[in-house]
């Protein structure tokens, strides 16, 4: 069979596997990015806790504790591959008597391993999001905070009403990029058997050994997913700049109106 025939054959016989894989990958990447962003905000804020020099020693002690936990967590997770983290998490849980494989065994996509994968990708993404939020906050002019503080707003109010919304808005391109990275990087979760796209491709090819065709298909699917994501981010950017989204139809509408 030629490559194209093989691709056709795979689509005909294994389309379900691919479909499950696509759904799984999309859910992993979106959940990981959004929840990771929230955790990342806490991580960034945790690292930047303001320790007041007049606070009592026990307040200072727990503040420094939080700062250092956040810092060490961020450095360790960003400094090790997600594939290795996945293995340590899965087998660590197993050693402690928690087998993720036992949950929801009959589920087609959202089985126990999938939820293990969600946890791993979320806690991994959180560290990168933490860095993004931190650099976003650094990019906000100090005057913004000063303006808020001069009106009597607390450090907390200033952060959540003035600095953070601006930092996140400015970071949206980078956050979106992290989403695209997650679509691709979720593939490493196959090592613990999460049924995402890459894992499903292996399942599809193990009966017929159309290996090139199999991986060409998922390469194309990954490409389509990332291009779609790019498109969504582009629209989001236009929307945030306060312009109207133009899909290219306005030309037709104008013609109609003239006629």
């Amino acid at each position: 069979m030629s490559l194209f025939q093989q691709i056709g054959y795979l689509f005909q016989n294994s389309w379900q596997l691919y479909l499950y894989g696509i759904v799984s990958t999309i859910v992993l990447s979106i959940f990981g990015t959004i929840v990771g962003l929230f955790l990342g905000i806490f991580l960034a804020l945790g690292e930047q806790i303001h320790v007041h020099k007049n606070s009592p020693w026990y307040t200072k002690a727990w503040q420094y504790l939080i700062i250092w936990i956040c810092k060490i967590y961020s450095v360790v997770v960003r400094g090790t591959p997600m594939m290795v983290q996945a293995m340590i998490f899965y087998f660590g849980c197993l050693a402690m008597g928690l087998n993720w494989n036992d949950f929801l065994q009959n589920a087609k996509i959202f089985d126990g391993l999938f939820f293990a994968g969600l946890i791993i990708i979320t806690f991994n993404t959180a560290t990168y999001m933490g860095e993004i939020v931190k650099s976003g906050l650094n990019g906000i002019d100090n005057g913004q905070s000063e303006g808020a503080r001069s009106l009597g707003m607390s450090r907390f109010q200033t952060m959540f009403s003035v600095a953070l919304p601006q930092a996140i808005k400015n970071s949206i391109p980078t956050i979106g990029n992290e989403w695209i990275v997650n679509i691709k990087d979720s593939s490493v979760l196959n090592v613990i058997g999460v049924t995402e796209l890459y894992f499903q491709a292996g399942q599809a090819s193990n009966k017929n050994y159309f290996l090139v065709a199999t991986y060409v298909i998922i390469a194309a699917i990954y490409l389509i997913l990332t291009l779609l994501t790019n498109g969504i981010l582009h629209l989001a950017k236009i929307k945030m700049d306060g312009k109207k989204i133009n899909f290219g139809f306005s030309h037709f509408k104008a013609k109609k109106a003239n006629a």
């Binding site: 002019d141 005057g143 000063e146 303006g147 808020a148 001069s150 009597g152 707003m153 109010q157 601006q166």
Partner: protein, 255 residues
């Protein structure tokens, strides 16, 4: 000490009273032995060359900087050494900055209502009514839903003044409010400030606008190298003072 924890609205002494404050950054002495009083309804203008410590002094007043030594009394209460919620003091001392410092993520109206709601816990309608009244006062009521990036520098500064006024402050601090503006915009901002001064708002203004100092000030302080070199009424400062540094700064020594 208990009675110092509340402000006294019927207090009739100076609104702000600064006693012997000094401020050092590392080994650099920025302010040395500064003392002055500002009475209610008075407009104090602080003049001086760049780097003389004017802005630092103003920032000490609402605790954006903490003086190294000395006392600052606000409504008769020591705000440096007393046990105070700093935010409570800042809410009563409006500040207008050289770089406006309006919230870029909010529109004009929201800039004026945010702190009212968060700090003074006013309801949305109440905050908006007060914001509209103050925006009207500075002539910006037709731009309430504009974004900050869509209005000019002079308009930004007028919104910043309205934002400070919304907090019903006891006094307003202006930190070179017109230094980032072109001459036409300077005029519109100064007009608003003159009106405020005439209406009896207590103001402390750091500026390089001599015309404003002449017209609106009740009292002028001239700072140089962290010291108060000379102080007095506008007439004294501009016409009678014999201080050489002051005369060379305001340009009256050539005549």
């Amino acid at each position: 000490m208990k009675d110092t924890n509340t402000f006294k609205p019927d207090y009739s002494g100076p609104v702000i009273s600064v006693k012997n404050i000094a401020k050092t950054f590392g080994t650099t002495e920025v302010l040395k032995d500064i003392s002055f009083d500002v009475k209610r309804g008075e407009c104090l203008v602080i003049l001086g060359p760049s780097g003389s410590g004017k802005s630092t002094m103003l920032r000490c007043l609402n605790k954006l900087e903490t003086p190294t030594s000395g006392q600052i009394f606000f409504d008769g209460v020591d705000i440096i050494n007393g046990k105070f919620n700093t935010n409570e003091i800042r809410a009563k001392l409006g500040m207008v900055f050289q770089s406006f410092n309006l919230f870029n993520n909010k529109d004009v109206l929201a800039n004026c209502t945010l702190a009212q709601r968060k700090v003074l816990h006013r309801t949305k309608e109440e905050a908006e009514d007060i914001a509209l009244a103050n925006l009207e006062r500075v002539g910006m009521s037709d731009r309430i839903h504009f974004r900050i990036s869509e209005i000019s520098g002079g308009q930004k500064q007028r919104v910043a003044i309205a934002r400070a006024l919304c907090m019903s402050p006891q006094a307003l601090l202006f930190d070179e409010p017109t230094s980032a503006l072109d001459p036409e915009m300077v005029g519109e901002v100064l007009n608003v400030m003159k009106e405020l001064a005439n209406e009896g708002m207590t103001m402390i203004v750091v500026t390089h606008e001599m015309s404003f100092a002449k017209e609106a000030a009740d009292q002028i302080i001239f700072l140089d190298k962290g010291y108060i070199v000379d102080q007095g009424t506008p007439d004294y400062i501009f016409n009678q003072s014999t201080n050489e540094r002051l005369r060379s700064f305001i340009g009256t020594d050539k005549k």
